[in-house]
């Protein structure tokens, strides 16, 4: 405890007495610009949260669907499996920012009727495409971690492949991959802001606008703190989920 305090004091003293500290403080920790930028950043964060929730639901559904497709056995399903593998390879490898540009500026550029023109919707599509590929792999790892004997046992009592997956395999798989899923969720929380390249004003973009107005980085610090605040409950949730899982597995 004492050592922590002394260490913190030493670091604090070291930073604040450095020759550049007054400049750094006025650039990164200027209360006036931070306060000025706060309402716009908060409005932007609300957009982040809405995009996050809607996209996460779609990602979980799509990801699980793709993972399930990859579990199909038999040569007749080869094209479907190949498609699922191709999807994951493509969208896990494609940098998100490039996917955003392709979807966000490319799709409307086709000028087809029915294609949305809203940057938030277009950006959301790109996020779902990329993140579903990641999440599909997380689900697949979970599905494959369920011991084959369980699958065999389920089939031997007369369950179909679909029933086996739904009743026996997937529930166990989801429990096991909950921590990595929450990890991806937190990553998505931060990547949601990238839709701003298409014209939407999210928290980070709102901070950037204020930064350009005042030439200080303080609005970014405000946005950063808000993102941390958003991520902390998720981290605790992940911890709790992992503990619960450990208890269950231990008891089994």
């Amino acid at each position: 405890m004492v050592s922590t305090l002394v260490f913190a004091a030493a670091v604090w003293f070291g930073i604040t007495s450095s020759p550049g500290w007054p400049r750094v403080r006025s650039s990164f920790f200027d209360v006036h610009t931070a306060a000025e930028a706060f309402p716009a950043i908060l409005t932007g964060l609300w957009l982040n949260v809405r995009v996050l929730v809607v996209c996460e639901v779609l990602i979980l559904v799509l990801g699980l669907g793709i993972a399930a497709l990859r579990t199909l056995r038999g040569p007749v399903w080869f094209p479907v499996r190949a498609l699922a593998v191709g999807y994951v390879d493509l969208f896990r490898g494609l940098p998100l920012i490039i996917c955003l540009y392709l979807v966000g500026f490319g799709l409307p550029g086709l000028r087809l009727t029915g294609i949305p023109n809203d940057p938030v919707i277009l950006g959301g599509i790109a996020l779902v495409l990329v993140y579903s590929a990641y999440v599909a792999e997380v689900f697949r790892a979970g599905i494959e971690s369920v011991h084959p004997s369980q699958r065999a046992a389920a089939r031997s009592i007369g369950l179909t492949h679909a029933q086996t997956m739904r009743i026996v395999v997937v529930p166990q798989a989801i429990r096991r991959v909950l921590p990595p899923l929450l990890n991806d969720f937190v990553a998505l929380q931060k990547d949601c802001g990238l839709i701003s390249v298409l014209g939407a004003v999210d928290a980070v973009r709102a901070a950037q606008i204020a930064q350009a107005k005042f030439f200080t980085f303080s609005p970014y610090v405000v946005a950063g703190l808000l993102f941390v605040l958003l991520a902390v409950p998720c981290a605790r949730l992940a911890d709790a989920a992992a503990r619960r899982l450990a208890r269950r597995e231990g008891a089994a």
Binding site: S3, V24, S27, G199, A212
Partner: protein, 293 residues
Amino acid sequence: MPVRTPVLLAALVVAGLCAAACAPADQNDKAAPATGVPTPGQGACAPAQLHTLKAGTFTFGTDEPVYSPWFVNDDPSSGKGFESAVAYAVAGKLGYQKAQVTWSRVSFNAAIQPGPKTFDADLDEFSITPDRAKAVDFSAPYYDVAQAVITVQGSPAANAHSIADLHGVKIGAQVGSTSYDAAQNVIKPSQQVAVYNNNDDAKQALGNGQIQALVVDLPTAFEITGAGEVQNSVIVGQLATTGRPEQFGLVLDKGSALTSCVSAAVNALRGDGTLAKLTDQWLSTAGNAPTLR
């Protein structure tokens, strides 16, 4: 570990003190700002006396990529394009030969961050505002800029004849630009202004119909519409400025000893007509841009 802990703590404290005491002094402390009106190229403003990044050379900063008409072919060292020409003219007034001028490519963030800069002066269409001047030094202004609205034929904005006509139009602008401020504060649109990383993205959005009008500075407006960078694009008009005109200045480190000399050079260039000549040469005003009120 009854003995080691205090030793470790002492070491940490010493390290902390050392970080403060041993750190290099802020470079800005050593050169006192010149007093009075300096003469560029002479006395305290002669190359031999100027504390530039590299002695004997003047380093200009600008972003990458840079665009016409400010720079030509993304090559600042060509002397072509308005800001490139201004940079060499400023250096010339200060007594530097063309070969003594170097360029450093500096992103927006790197230009305004609080640490040591990689340039002596940066020109990248930075508009001078009192808020910004708290974080960096600005030279005397080298260009008075107007903001303009462009659109594509057939867009609702194409028939606008006043600022009020643009009120309901979906407008876009580049982030960090005073064009964004103008879109927000002069037009006061009913829909949120779409903000793009750069004008390339914004032009794509305008061409796609994702926005109905784009606010850029007037020379850029002439460039986009004149060079056909966006198909069928036209200038709706320029936005009437209220109060002080918007002006571009060179950006220098806050408290830079060079600021007064660079400002003196810019003022001298205005006084002898060089700035007006370079403006005529590089910033075409061919085309029609009625003032919107």
